[in-house]
Structures are given as structure tokens and as C-alpha cells.
Symmetry: C2
Subunit: 214 residues, 2 copies
Amino acid sequence: MNPIITAFERSPDGGKGLARDTRVRWALEEVGQPYDVRLVSFQALKEPAHLALTPFGQIPTFENGNFTLFESGAIVLHIAEHYEGLLPKDSVARTRAITWMFAALNTVEPPILDLVTANIFEGDKPWAQERTPLVKDRIRVRLRQLSSYLEGADWLDGAFSAGDLMMVSVLLRLRMSGMLDEYPSLAAYVSRGEARPAYRRAFAAQLAVNAPAS
Amino acid sequence: MNPIITAFERSPDGGKGLARDTRVRWALEEVGQPYDVRLVSFQALKEPAHLALTPFGQIPTFENGNFTLFESGAIVLHIAEHYEGLLPKDSVARTRAITWMFAALNTVEPPILDLVTANIFEGDKPWAQERTPLVKDRIRVRLRQLSSYLEGADWLDGAFSAGDLMMVSVLLRLRMSGMLDEYPSLAAYVSRGEARPAYRRAFAAQLAVNAPAS
């Protein structure tokens, strides 16, 4: 039995790979674990069957036998801990890689989510034009720090890890804004992530759902 | 040698316990591990010595011998994994507790951080009055879901865990807004967290720094 993840029946981004199932697909591809996908409609996200998997009505979830998880961060960490390939064996290096997962999710992603909010949920508000540059400047604080930390390194802390997987996934949300291009070392870092065969398979798999070839 | 954490020399909240060192202090108190604190000025956060600990110039950091960590989530998880008392022994229950840590940090906290931004960084903007209710409504979506999940339970998933420690810490940011009181089961949940002797010691320790008795 393969693990089963949930994904949007139709992703709001139309197949750009920004829905959080892509992070989990990517992790499963990196470790070479086949998986099954159950697609969920927006309506079904609010129904008891899905809420029994996650109280927040989100995707992805992860089911493996009688054991269910939610939160893409927790799922990726679980995959990284139970299969080979996403965490170093050395315990200090392993803890550092996990630190980068939290940094991606709790320091870098929140201001980026605020930009998503500004563009999508508040894009028609009278303050949108004046406020968006403030939101972007808060993101730039984090991009500048991360860029300065990375310098010429390929990955955050030695070899590619679950920390990079999460950081690249978070930064990909900025692709459309053009902001990544302001920081060439970050743009190159994200491109290195996207070039990984495991990412390409994950991206293709979500695209096949969201923008099937006609 | 005790582990050393960093904290603000003077917390922006004046001792309300909302700076993220409180989460780490609480975790260390729960597991009974004494710790030392190095206080850092706002200026020093941006200096090379601190940036060598964390590229994002934040507090807290965690040093234990030659091993350093940043990100309160990562530090709390490290403490929970290396000392007894914050994670169940059963592997499924342990993974679920970690899931709740991620839910606190990546699903519940981001909209709450947006309210902090609205109140503090954008409190003087022309849109503040009209926008704040939208921000609060996005928080209420999560509070309603969490409240509905908790029902009458004392903690999120059986016994108190690192997941509860993080969720209570995140919800405490809403205390001043009065929003917790709209969800009596959540208000009671947060109060149960605050009543724990380990939380009280952690709170008192940060208060002693930020509002020393005259």
C-alpha cells in the first residue's frame, strides 16, 4: 500500500505548482516513495470526511495505513525522518536542516503569504496600490538576509536537504512577482531546486491534474 | 554547561511574554533543563556576532557547546526530542504532536502575525480602520476550526505536548485583542497552558528582564 496524499481537484493557481501538495510530492519523489493521490473539491474540504483528517480543511493530508497527518511541514518532516535522502545522518547537521524547514515556514513564508493576501483577497481594495509596496519591502528584508547568507553556496547547509526543499517551495511563491530576480543568488538557488529531477516529476504530476493536455 | 538562549535586552511588548524566547524558556522549564540567557540589544541583532547565529537577526537562538540553532520552532522541537516531557513515546502520537507544532506556526500564526503588522506597522495608515476587521475575520476562520476541533478536550491530542506549547504560545498573541474570548473553549485552553508551573516560571523569567521590580 502506497501512502495517500490529498490535493485540490482544481488548484487555484491552475497548475503553477504553488499548492502545498507539490512540497509533499517533491519530498516523496526525492526519497523514491511512490504515492497515491486523492483529489478533493473545494466543497469537500469543508465536509466531515476531510475535516476528520485535518481540522483546518486544507490540503495536503497524508495517510499511511491507520496513521494520518496534516500540515505540509509536518508531512515533509515525517517523510524525511522515515525514508533516506532528505536529512543528513549526522545529528547536528540533521537538526540544522530541520531548523531551515522552520525558518522557511515561520520566518520567510509569512510575509510572502501576506503578499498573496494583498494580491488575491485584497486586490480590489482601495488600499491595494499603496499597501503592496510595504508588503514587498517586508519580504525584501528576508530575501536580503537569505541572499547574504547563501552567497555562492548551492544549498543552505551543505548537501540538499528537506530545509532546501521547503525554502525553495516557499520562494517559488514569489516567481510571478519578479522579486526573486532582484536577488540573483536566490533566483539561482530556486532554479537549482526546480532543476532537480524529483521536483520536475512532482511539478509534472500536479500539472497533469490541473492543466491536463487537451 | 547549561544551554544558552538569546532574548531581547528589552522586549517590544514590555514583558507580556510574546517575544519568542518565552516559548523556548517554557520548553526548557517543562523538561527541567536549566539555561542561561544572553540579552541582545536591537542594535546587536544586526551585528556579525549575532548574524553568525541566525541569518535573520532574530531572537531566540540556542547554543549548546559547539552546536547552535535558531527558529523557536526548531529549538522547541530539538528540546522536545532530546529531553523527556514534551513528546509522547509512541511514534504515531509523537508525529501527531509535531504536526500540531507546524499547524501552530504555519496555519494559525501567519494570520495572527498579520494582525500584529496591521496594528503596529500599519496602525497609522489610512486603511487601518477598514482593513483590520478583514484581518480579524481571517483569524476567526482558524479560531473557529480549532475551537470546533478541541471541543471539551484539555489538550490537542491526549496529554500536553510540544504541540500545545506552541499553539498556546501563538494564541497568546491574541490576548490583548479580546478575540480569544469569542471562543470560550480556546480561552480556557490558553488559560490551562498559562496555569502550568513551567509556563509561569518562563513568564516570570522574561518579565524579570523586561519589567524589573523597582
